[in-house]
């Protein structure tokens, strides 16, 4: 480190370091050094191009480090896009020293150089845990990240001496740390799963840890992943939504329902008062994930319910017990409403295809569909009576729309009858005309 440093210093400030050698030579050297300096500065400027560093934070560190390799490389672009640099902080904020002078790396000026991984959380927290300090920049930003981190599996292991675990920079980046709301940030909602997967999906890296590395693969097939990436719903859950971000840890058995209920309120409420709640607790089973799995949460379907081969109910309930009967009944009801909606849909579609206007009935039918959705939510009460009530309302609507469709089809038949009648009169006219022509032209 220091060897490289000296070498650069020689190239750049050679003139000044060896200024006593000879006046003439020193003049020549000076001119050469100025030329090189200008060239390097121009190159650096062109690298940073439109990023336009704020003049006040112009840092001499970047001038050299942008030309270095590997870990020591920090480009002007990175620097320009770093949220800290944008707010007027410099390299010295973390690394110490004085970036405005040529003695930037003077230990006397507090230069720290490389920062040990284990020291990073505390270093970041120096500001980020300081409420009064953070208020100057972003008053709504939380300042409990370090406290949370210490409760996380990452934090605990780090404290235990394991430096393989994630520290601040592993998720947020190191040079060029972007604001979380920047879509290019590694912790932007769309990028979180990939960021976690960098370690957690790496079998080799995760060797020696007691957890699997298939979470990302599972999540990638989940309905949550689809909502986030395909539908672009940035509020859809990603890793940190359930595990926490700074305090990342798996939710305990008892808290699974609480975590899921932050979004799935109704299902959770119903589950809490359902007969499954005590039963699951007694068996040591967590809520929600017992049936829906944890990372591979696919879009639920009616085939999960009942006593069929894909039904999850039969994991516990067996032929003959009350739950088995109830499961079968619930499934039947869901299927029946589904079928009723299908029938109405079919009739309405036929009516529409024959040119009948049935948009009101089609609108009504959506409320039957809503009712089916509602029944599927009510299902989490695991109380057949409640589910039957929802189904009944849906059935009534579906029936009403089916009748509307059939009425439209009757109207269509009426039109066809009208057509038939007028075609008969037209035919009579044609025959009459033909005969009349024959009559008047008969010689």
């Amino acid at each position: 480190m220091s060897a490289i440093h000296n070498e650069i210093m020689q190239t750049r400030d050679g003139e000044r370091l060896r200024g006593t050698a000879s006046a003439r030579a020193s003049q020549a050297w000076f001119l050469l050094a100025v030329a090189i300096w200008v060239a390097v500065a121009m190159f650096a400027a062109s690298q940073a191009h439109s990023a336009a560093l704020p003049q006040a934070v112009q840092s001499t560190c970047v001038d050299c480090h942008s030309a270095l390799d590997a870990n020591l490389k920090v480009t002007g672009e990175q620097y320009a896009q770093d949220i800290h640099a944008q707010k007027g902080l410099t390299c010295a904020g973390c690394h110490g020293g004085d970036p405005t002078s040529m003695e930037a790396m003077d230990k006397k000026k507090g230069f720290k150089g490389h920062i040990d991984r284990k020291a990073i959380p505390e270093l970041c927290a120096k500001c980020h845990a300081d409420g009064a300090y953070m208020r100057q920049y972003n008053p709504s930003l939380r300042t409990d990240q370090l406290a949370q981190y210490k409760t996380s599996v990452h934090g605990k292991r780090l404290a235990g001496g394991d430096s393989k675990v994630a520290v601040c920079i592993d998720c947020h980046g190191v040079h060029g740390i972007r604001a979380v709301k920047d879509p290019r940030s590694k912790v932007f909602p769309l990028n979180v799963a990939d960021t976690c997967a960098r370690c957690h999906a790496d079998g080799k890296y995760m060797q020696g840890y007691p957890i699997k590395h298939d979470q990302f693969a599972g999540y990638s097939t989940s309905v949550h992943h689809e909502a986030l990436t395909v539908r672009g719903d940035l509020s859809a859950p990603t890793c940190t939504t359930c595990h926490g971000n700074h305090g990342a840890a798996p939710p305990g058995v008892a808290s699974v329902v609480n975590v899921c209920s932050t979004c799935h309120v109704f299902q959770a409420q119903l589950f809490e008062s359902s007969p499954h709640k005590p039963a699951f607790a007694a068996a040591g089973l967590p809520g929600c994930v017992t049936c829906h799995s944890n990372h591979r949460i696919v879009h639920p379907s009616d085939s999960m319910v009942g006593t069929g081969p894909q039904a999850v109910c039969t994991e516990c309930h067996t032929q003959g017990d009350a739950g088995f009967v109830a499961a079968g009944h619930i499934k039947e009801q869901l299927v029946a409403l589904q079928a009723a909606i299908g029938r109405s849909d079919e009739v309405l579609r036929r009516a529409e295809e024959s040119g009948m206007e049935v948009s009101q009935a089609q609108l009504d039918l959506t409320s039957a569909r809503d009712q089916l959705t509602k029944a599927r939510v009510t299902l989490h009460s695991f109380t057949p009576k409640k589910i039957d009530d929802d189904i009944k309302v849906g059935q009534v609507t579906a029936e009403k729309t089916r009748l509307a469709g059939e009425k439209a089809l009757r109207e269509r038949d009426y039109r066809r009858m009208g057509l038939g009648i007028s075609l008969v009169t037209i035919l009579a006219m044609l025959v009459g005309l033909k005969l009349y022509i024959g009559q008047i032209e008969r010689k």
Partner: protein, 164 residues
């Protein structure tokens, strides 16, 4: 040149010819007259029915009468049909009418007004919107589309906002 023409006029022809011819002529007359009348009736009947204005005079469109004045009590709301989708008309506790799309931007459930929260709420996934339609909590990714409300006489008219 040979010219085909009516050798007999239908009127004058009745006097001459055999009785069989007369029957035939009569039949043709009845058929023609009947056909003409019936076919005329089959145009005129639909046209006359068409001329009667239907009872429902509201054609719908970007403007709809969502409710009548006095129908809603303050701090309540109702769902109305707006084209092929539901809309939500709210009479706020402040006495202001507000209208917005009632289709949740999350998974298209129909939202409702919660008098206790003074917010718009979606029962499916507990999404909430404020009275300006902005999504304030829960999963909804976007605000609800807001409509213009005008009170015209006894009618509360809701109109889609015009672009430019």
């Amino acid at each position: 040149m040979q010219v085909f023409e009516a050798t007999t006029s239908p009127r004058g022809a009745g006097d001459s010819g055999s009785p069989r011819d007369n029957v035939r002529r009569r039949f043709i007359q009845v058929l023609l007259g009947g056909g003409l009348l019936a076919s005329a009736a089959s145009f005129i009947y639909p046209v006359l029915r068409y001329l009667i204005p239907p009872a429902a005079t509201d054609m719908g469109g970007d403007t709809v009468v969502a409710a009548r004045v006095g129908e809603l009590k303050p701090n309540t709301a109702k769902i109305f049909r707006f084209g092929s989708r539901p809309g939500l008309l709210i009479l706020g506790a402040d006495g202001e009418y507000r209208a917005m799309s009632a289709t949740c931007t999350h998974l298209s459930c129909t939202v409702q007004y919660r008098s206790d929260l003074k917010q718009v709420w979606c029962a499916c996934h507990n999404g909430t919107y404020d009275l300006a339609g902005r999504n304030v909590s829960g999963p909804p990714p976007r605000p609800l589309e807001l409509f213009d409300v005008h009170v015209q006489g006894e009618e509360i008219v809701v109109r889609r906002k015009r672009e430019a």
